[in-house]
């Protein structure tokens, strides 16, 4: 399996996690530049449905790594199965989406093979013969170029939203599938996964909202959330928040946008006092238009905003609410 890029596609409870398509898009771009082959692997109990879906994508081959031990996700079974498979195939590069599940097992998988993982990359660059991955550091204040200084296989994960899943190139014909009976060592699995559940009843489905007014640490006090609510009402939108606001109990958890909350792509995302930590940005950067109001001109949120205002939100928001009301009458 010389000079191959292997994508480990993510499935949860038998369903394809579509963020895997983004990683496939990235992998296709790398493959085009390096002339390496592109192959995909799906691990699980029985992964036929997902394999069918991925087979439409332009990849050279798909491996269906199956075992009853992989039916329900555990880091240990995944590491054990993938270690064996990757160890024998020796691809150049193993790519995965940077999901909570991948964060849970991928570092361990790389280490088990004596290799390393560049996690949460947002892009790559070919530097001579070397591949360099770009990733954010210091909460998005800087970008770093990171390279491997060990032999392949090299492991990297891509942040959600770094590539467009809908741009993935489809194949002329279905890719061939090879079934692998995983050697997952069940006795080594010490973690017992139990039920998956949702905590609070989702009062609103923010993913369906066309307009979202979202607040961050800059709102300072719980009572100031009313300012943002008034603006959301005037615009006919929903109120949402970054994680610290929900952690403080100022808004319910189901209003949280970001990696641990909801991922949204409304027509308008108005970020009030949100600095733009990566964990938040991944949940909203697909928005069609982003307006950011923040007192700190250096806040990373301005990197992705279409319109930015550096200023005091306590002045601007009431004035804006007023103007919106006027415009609507």
């Amino acid at each position: 399996m010389a000079d191959t890029i292997l994508i480990v596609v993510e499935q949860r409870e038998g369903k394809l996690n579509r963020v895997s398509l983004e990683t496939l898009t990235a992998a296709q771009a790398i493959a085009a530049e390096t002339n390496w082959d592109l192959e995909a692997a799906v691990a699980g109990g029985s992964v036929d449905a997902i394999v069918q879906e991925i087979a439409k994508v332009k990849v050279k081959k798909i491996y269906a790594i199956e075992s009853p031990k992989l039916e329900r996700y555990t880091a240990e079974a995944y590491v054990s199965a993938l270690k064996q498979f990757i160890g024998s195939k020796q691809p150049k590069l193993v790519l995965m989406p940077h999901t909570y599940q991948v964060r849970d097992f991928a570092p361990r998988l790389a280490a088990a093979l004596g290799r390393t993982l560049i996690s949460d990359a947002i892009g790559y660059r070919k530097d001579g013969t070397k591949l360099v991955f770009t990733r954010q550091m210091f909460q998005g204040k800087f970008t770093a170029d990171v390279s491997f200084s060990c032999d392949p296989p090299h492991f990297a994960t891509f942040q959600a939203g770094s590539y467009r899943g809908d741009r993935v190139e489809m194949g002329a014909s279905a890719a061939p599938v090879e079934k692998i009976a995983a050697q997952a060592d069940g006795s080594a699995v010490r973690v017992k996964p139990l039920e998956i559940f949702k905590e609070a009843k989702q009062a609103v489905d923010l993913t369906q909202a066309e307009i979202i007014v979202s607040v961050g640490r800059g709102i300072k006090e719980q009572k100031n959330i009313e300012l943002a609510k008034a603006l959301a009402d005037a615009l006919g939108g929903e109120i949402a928040a970054s994680r610290p606001i929900c952690d403080s109990g100022w808004l319910p958890m189901d209003r949280q946008i970001g990696s641990s909350g909801q991922t949204v792509a409304p027509k308008l995302y108005l970020a009030l006092g949100i600095s733009g930590a990566i964990q938040h940005i991944v949940g909203m950067k697909g928005s069609r238009s982003i307006i950011a109001i923040n007192k700190d001109a250096e806040a990373p949120i301005f990197e992705i905003a279409d319109f930015g205002v550096v200023g005091n939100l306590f002045d601007i928001v009431p004035a804006l609410t007023e103007e919106v009301r006027k415009a609507k009458t």
Partner: protein
């Protein structure tokens, strides 16, 4: 329960950061603080100890300044501290950092090791998981609650999009703790006073060097992110800005 908490010192959240001359790292003349997720990990360890008894030990790597993190943890109630002290530890990749930690605790028997879910500087989210691999222990990440059960722990792990999962696992184990799992306490004056007399073991790079390997990855350079989007900045008084924004909402965003 005997719990080790891995803590990291990172630049303060609002500190203005500058690149060093070679563009490989930040200039070190900034104010530092405890990595926020690690503060939650410590708090959780202290709460577990208050419930079940035992000991809380904190560990960090880095130059002398990093000791601040340990002092603070001791003042909040940790029983003792281990400092892998030296500038040599600063440039280690996650794998080597985990190896260094593992080597420095080889004579200890912990039931649990906690880390924050990721650091606010690198943001790799790997050290805890790697430590589990090195020690051969089970692990779980992004933990939102921990209950002691017979022979192990019952955990609530956070998944994406508002989902959670319960897990059970035996001890010893490594857990990475999600921020917001609890409410942080303040260091009390009595705690600060007592912290002085709590043991702090220093470990030099030379002592654990044998356990380290070459770094497997390298930060080539650090730079200010290139803008992906053209941002139009609107200026003026609050009233003027509000008018301009409404104009944008009408004519460009078209939601009014």
């Amino acid at each position: 329960m005997k719990i080790l908490v891995c803590m990291k010192q990172v630049p303060q959240k609002d500190a203005p950061l500058k690149l060093n001359e070679s563009g490989t790292w930040i200039r070190e003349d900034v104010s530092y603080e405890v990595n926020e997720p690690d503060a939650y990990a410590l708090e959780e360890a202290l709460r577990q100890k208050e419930k079940h008894g035992g000991e809380v030990v904190v560990i960090t790597t880095g130059p002398a300044r990093a000791q601040q993190v340990l002092r603070e943890a001791l003042a909040k109630g940790a029983d003792r501290a281990i400092h892998l002290e030296g500038n040599e530890f600063v440039g280690l990749d996650s794998f080597n950092t985990a190896k260094a930690i593992a080597a420095s605790i080889k004579d200890e028997q912990f039931d649990l090791i906690f880390t924050g879910l990721q650091s606010d500087d690198y943001g790799y989210a790997q050290t805890g998981v790697l430590l589990a691999e090195i020690l051969g222990w089970p692990h779980a990440t992004i933990i939102m609650s921990i209950e002691k059960s017979d022979g192990g722990v019952r955990l609530k792990r956070e998944l994406e999009a508002g989902f959670f999962q319960h897990l059970e696992m035996p001890l010893p184990a490594v857990l990475t703790i999600q921020s917001g799992i609890n409410k942080l306490r303040y260091a009390t004056l009595i705690g600060i006073k007592q912290a002085k007399n709590k043991p702090l073991r220093k470990v030099t790079h030379a002592e654990i060097q044998h356990a380290l390997g070459p770094n497997l990855q390298k930060i080539e350079k650090l730079y200010i992110p290139q803008k992906q989007k053209k941002t139009e900045m609107l200026e003026g008084s609050a009233a003027e800005v509000a008018k301009k924004l409404v104009d944008k909402l009408k004519n460009e965003v078209r939601v009014l």
